[in-house]
């Protein structure tokens, strides 16, 4: 080899796109949208990471995953090492890789993002988890010797599942109580199949059962048993019951047939599989013209579900502008591609209906303009007088947030609640004001994210373990 020939300058690899179902096909089916990376694509994407010494991405991760570490393993084709690395901090990587708002967390801080596009950290996390599930050995992590201590976990959402997984590993006996007929929380009843296949959720819960957890479904704590009764049988109780209370717009006409809360619309579709009616028994109004109110992930999920149920028009009606939409960027982008129509700076004032049939026929909306910034720093929408107009719709889905469901909290004396009805818990330990009771996730913070619920579960499980091992 001649000395003159220089090594060719390393070509810059662009951010690797995940192959996905074409928008015009997927808008009519419930199958998952992105197919995931192939090993080749994953390794290529992993190569983009420059392995920062002081990685900014990690600071953006609520559970501090060793991001460059797992990416390095992928780059080298050591997929099992990658998943083991992820598992150290995150017990649900297949879920988080799909639903975390990476653009405001790890990817939002990634150094490459300054000039170029950030490393596709979420896609890589998903790849590692999916590869393990589809090709890997069924590895069960080693468990500590049984301690003889018993813990009740109330609610089988991300917070409760995390607590359960952690405490099982530490040798404690774990019994999960779940109100619905299946475990998973919002992962099961809220987030649609096309974004998070239910098979993945089942697999995660099944993993816990193989690890030795008892999952008791159909157990509505507060009704079938109270927390005080659980405390008689268990050494500690963790409350991870989520923020399961629907919020309505409180405008006239919300009783019309075809007006749904997001919780009802999604529960019918996801948990009850109403999209397979009549093979499944639960029906849902399959609107031709559907309006979803709100701008978060929940709203995007509803609007995209409406398309898949056969809507000709699926509108998002939101009172602020595109810049303020709180949903994940990827979801807004997917929704637009699929043909969701955004009616921004619009605020509903009343529903219109046919009083003989009781069916919804339209919604009156008022146009808004952006005024001065409010307390949250976002410009406050102010109504434009006399700008009311009617949108003809036959289905409305209200996705403007959720509240704290009082069923459990009301039946549990000794818990301190804040003014919104959420449980007061120490942010570092999850301890509530009631002895031997911990809480975390949406029931403490209000609706947040999967990873924050898991982070709260992790802190609580550490604290519960300390208590069970050393006492208070």
């Amino acid at each position: 080899m001649s000395e003159e020939v220089k090594a060719p300058k390393k070509e810059k690899i662009p951010r690797q796109k995940m192959p996905e179902q074409p928008a015009n096909e997927r808008r009519r089916n419930f199958e998952e949208v992105p197919y995931g990376y192939t090993p080749e694509l994953a390794m290529k994407e992993a190569e983009r990471c420059i392995q920062c010494k002081d990685p900014r991405c990690k600071q953006g991760c609520p559970v501090e995953i060793d991001i460059p570490g797992f990416i390095k393993h992928i780059k080298e084709g050591e997929f099992e090492a990658a998943i083991r690395n992820l598992w150290e901090k995150n017990s649900l990587p297949a879920v988080c890789g799909r639903v975390c708002p990476q653009e405001v967390q790890c990817e939002g801080l990634c150094i490459l993002g300054k000039k170029d596009e950030p490393v596709a950290i979420g896609n890589l996390e998903r790849f590692a988890a999916d590869y393990q599930r589809e090709h890997g050995k069924q590895i069960l992590p080693p468990k500590a010797d049984p301690t003889g201590k018993k813990v009740a976990v109330v609610g089988a959402g991300p917070a409760g599942l995390t607590v359960a997984g952690d405490l099982l590993l530490k040798g404690h006996d774990v019994h999960i109580f779940e109100a619905l007929h299946g475990p998973g929380g919002v992962l099961l009843y809220g987030i649609p199949e096309f974004r998070l296949p239910k098979a993945i959720v089942f697999q995660e819960c099944n993993f816990l059962e193989r690890m030795g957890a008892t999952i008791e479904v159909n157990a509505v704590i507060g009704r079938s048993e109270t927390v005080d009764e659980l405390l008689e049988r268990f050494d500690a109780v963790f409350l991870g019951v989520g923020a399961g209370l629907p919020v309505f717009l409180k405008i006239p006409g919300e009783h019309y047939i075809g007006v749904y809360s997001a919780n009802e619309y999604l529960t019918r579709s996801n948990l009850m599989k109403a999209y397979e009616f009549p093979v499944y028994d639960t029906p849902i109004v399959k609107g031709k013209s559907v309006a979803t109110f709100g701008g978060g992930n929940v709203a995007m999920d509803c609007a995209r579900t409406a398309l898949r149920l056969g809507a000709d028009h699926s509108y998002i009606i939101y009172r602020r502008s595109m810049a303020e939409l709180p949903a994940r960027t990827a979801e807004v982008h997917h929704a637009e591609e699929e043909g969701v129509e955004f009616l921004l700076l619009n605020n509903p004032t009343r529903f219109l209906g046919d009083d003989a049939t009781g069916r919804l026929t339209g919604v009156e909306v008022l146009k808004m303009e952006l005024g001065e910034p409010d307390a949250s720093g976002r410009r406050r929408p102010v109504p434009i007088k006399g700008s009311e107009y009617t949108v003809e719709i036959d289905t409305a889905v209200i996705a403007i947030g959720s509240g704290s469901n009082p069923l459990l909290t009301k039946s549990t004396p000794g818990l301190a609640l804040n003014k919104w009805g959420y449980i007061v818990a120490d942010p570092k330990t999850g301890k509530t004001m009631k002895p031997r009771v911990w809480a975390g996730g949406d029931i403490v913070t209000g609706s947040a994210t999967v990873i924050l619920a898991m982070g709260a579960g992790r802190l609580a499980s550490n604290s519960i373990h300390d208590y069970l091992t050393y006492g208070w």
Binding site: H181, N218, S224, P246, F248, N263, T267, D281, L407
Partner: protein, 285 residues
């Protein structure tokens, strides 16, 4: 699985009674509370009131009318078979109070819901009038049990084949006219019946409890499907009810919302009648 240990057909097979093994629920249940049941993996979540319980044996009793696909599917379940899910007890128990004289009015399967409440009211020392009605003699249920739970019982049938010919509201009105000491009415049955009973009792200024049956999904206050308007306010029947002060209920709204899925219900029931294990519906899962 929640096993059916006893099964009985009533009212010529239009109404079915099941005793189901559910010890945890039986131990907790109080009059007025309900359960949600699912027959199988593809099934709907169906709310039914507990007509009775036997905590010692760990059993609960449901009595339901066959009105559509899911109840027809339930009807096919025999002793030894069962439901994959039974959730409860749900809802607020009836507030049983000694007020003196009460009148309990039940129509159709509503009598099954009314019976434990009637019995409870008598047990704590009230003088109980009861009025029960059905379309025809052979559709009337729980006559003996209601008789045992009442001090004075009246029977009405629409076609006059048994007791008074006419509606339960006739006897309700008659009794309220006759006895001015009645302090409380409990009226449970189809929506029109409850609505007209409330009209009558309102004239007499008698407080009236009704049990509402809006369509439900989770039964834990999570979805808002069961919302009803009471005193002009939105209430969730599954957690705030199912019993409410009848004079304050917006009956027309409830009546409309109960018809939400009329089209789908027919599709589903027709499919079921044709299917017989052919994979078109949930009956074979």
């Amino acid at each position: 699985m929640f096993e059916i240990v006893e099964r009985q057909e009533m009212a010529q097979g239009t109404i079915i009674s099941n005793w189901i093994k559910a010890p945890k629920i039986a131990a907790k249940a109080k009059p007025g509370q309900f359960v949600i049941l699912r027959a199988n993996e593809k099934g709907e979540r169906i709310p039914l009131t507990m007509a009775d319980t036997d905590p010692a044996k760990g059993l609960i009793n449901i009595i339901y009318m066959v009105v559509g696909k899911s109840t027809a599917l339930f009807k096919t379940l025999q002793v030894g078979q069962g439901y994959i899910d039974v959730i409860g007890p749900l809802g607020q128990p009836t507030h049983l109070e000694k007020v003196g004289k009460v009148i309990c009015v039940g129509g159709g399967t509503g009598i099954a819901v009314l019976h434990p409440i009637t019995r409870g009211l008598k047990q704590i020392g009230n003088f109980v009038y009861s009025v029960i009605g059905a379309r025809s003699k052979d559709l009337l249920i729980l006559e003996d049990k209601m008789k045992a739970a009442s001090d004075e019982m009246m029977i009405c049938t629409d076609d006059g084949t048994y007791g008074h010919k006419g509606f339960v509201t006739d006897k309700l009105k008659e009794t309220l006219e006759k006895d001015k000491d009645i302090k409380l009415a409990v009226c449970i049955g189809p929506v029109p019946m409850m609505k007209f009973c409330c009209k009558v009792t309102k004239e007499f200024g008698v407080k009236t409890l009704v049990s509402l049956n809006p369509i439900m999904v989770d039964g834990t206050g999570m979805c808002g499907c069961c919302r009803v308007k009471v005193e002009g306010k939105m209430q969730f029947a599954c957690v705030d009810g199912p019993e409410f002060e009848g004079h304050e209920v917006d009956w027309d709204e409830l009546d409309l919302r109960l018809r939400s899925y009329m089209v789908e219900e027919k599709v589903s029931y027709d499919q079921f009648k044709e299917c017989h294990g052919g994979g078109k519906c949930s009956c074979c899962s």
